[in-house]
């Protein structure tokens, strides 16, 4: 999933302070799972904002809605008949949702309520970590299911660097060396021969370095 974290409430207050009618829009997908922008978080933030403005003697209307997704047009359409009532939308979706909302409702300012961080997993409640950088050319089959692009600080493809010490990365004692993990898993799977094979030079043009990307599939396109 896409992992995000709530913006500090002071930053949100500053960004919406110029508006008198605000629609706070949550998203039922990734940001709900990482407890940053689901229905619950929408309720708490809306309540906090209402109280803040009430305390300042300002009458700011803050309404709440949580959509199934904000990265699909059909769900964004659900607010079309009410969008004109608001001076701004405060979206608690990831950066993708915020942008698609802004594209869909071109004349309404759309502001982000979360900081989008990465594609990752819930290791435990309250702890998320990165697993994929969407490089566009998956190498997990050769690396024991552990990604050297997202989990190795240097994105190395043929074993660890000299900074790997006792299984940890030189960046931090809390950070596992991805290549240690890969070797451990290949050993466990009895496939250490895979490690001996030199990885071909990676085509980075499918990664972000090649500019903004898109996937076009004629088989499913209508």
């Amino acid at each position: 999933m896409i992992v995000a974290k709530p913006k500090p409430v002071e930053e949100v207050i500053e960004s919406v302070s110029g508006f008198d009618r605000i629609l706070l829009v949550g998203c039922n997908e990734c940001v709900t799972v990482c407890e940053a922008g689901g229905r619950k978080e929408v309720g708490v933030l809306a309540s906090a904002l209402r109280m803040h403005f009430m305390n300042q003697g300002r009458n700011v209307q803050i309404d709440e809605v949580t959509l199934e997704r904000q990265c699909d047009r059909e769900y964004l359409e659900e607010i079309r008949n009410r969008i004109d009532q608001y001076g701004a939308v405060l979206s608690l979706a990831c950066g993708v949702g915020v942008q698609f909302m802004a594209e869909t409702y071109f004349q309404t300012p759309v502001l982000p309520g979360v900081d989008t961080c990465f594609m990752g997993v819930t290791e435990e409640r309250g702890l998320w970590s990165e697993r994929c950088q969407g490089c566009g050319q998956c190498v997990l089959a050769r690396t024991g299911g552990i990604c050297p692009v997202s989990r190795c600080a240097k994105r190395l493809f043929n074993g660890p660097c000299g900074g790997s010490t006792r299984g940890k990365c030189e960046l931090s004692k809390d950070l596992e060396c991805a290549w240690q993990l890969i070797i451990d898993r290949l050993t466990e799977l009895g496939r250490l021969d895979d490690y001996e094979e030199l990885a071909p030079i990676k085509d980075w043009s499918t990664e972000r370095a090649g500019g903004p990307r898109r996937v076009e599939r004629e088989d499913v396109r209508q």
Partner: protein, 123 residues
């Protein structure tokens, strides 16, 4: 034991303090409560293992958020006691009531009154 506790305290009973969510505390303030305290079982003695520990985290979160938005974090508290400790129940109710009296009423009540008065004047 028939002990008296301050009449300003309104009790909302829940099956376990683990049921208390951040939004419940926020809504209480939004509706004009001057203070909120959560009274849970002793730590380590939760029938559901961690209900009271979760509640404490949510109270901490509420305190932080209310401080940041200018309502005042000191208006929220968490206390722990056993169900048979009536005198302690009263002591906590008094302690909290005293604290809130010192802090004064929920600031949004004053401003919303002013707001309404101004609105009525203009009409």
């Amino acid at each position: 034991m028939r002990l008296q506790y301050p009449g300003s305290v309104r009790i909302v009973s829940v099956p376990c303090t683990g049921k208390v969510d951040l939004i419940h505390i926020m809504r209480a303030f939004e509706k004009g409560a001057d203070g909120v305290y959560v009274l849970g079982c002793m730590e380590g003695e939760c029938r559901y293992e961690s209900g009271n520990l979760r509640a404490r985290k949510r109270v901490d979160k509420a305190r932080d958020l209310l401080e940041r938005i200018g309502i005042g974090g000191e208006r929220v508290a968490m206390y722990n006691l056993s169900s048979s400790e009536a005198p302690r129940f009263v002591a906590y109710a008094r302690e909290m009531t005293e604290r809130i009296k010192k802090l004064g009423p929920n600031p949004i009540k004053a401003t919303s009154k002013k707001h309404k008065a101004a609105g009525a004047g203009a009409a």
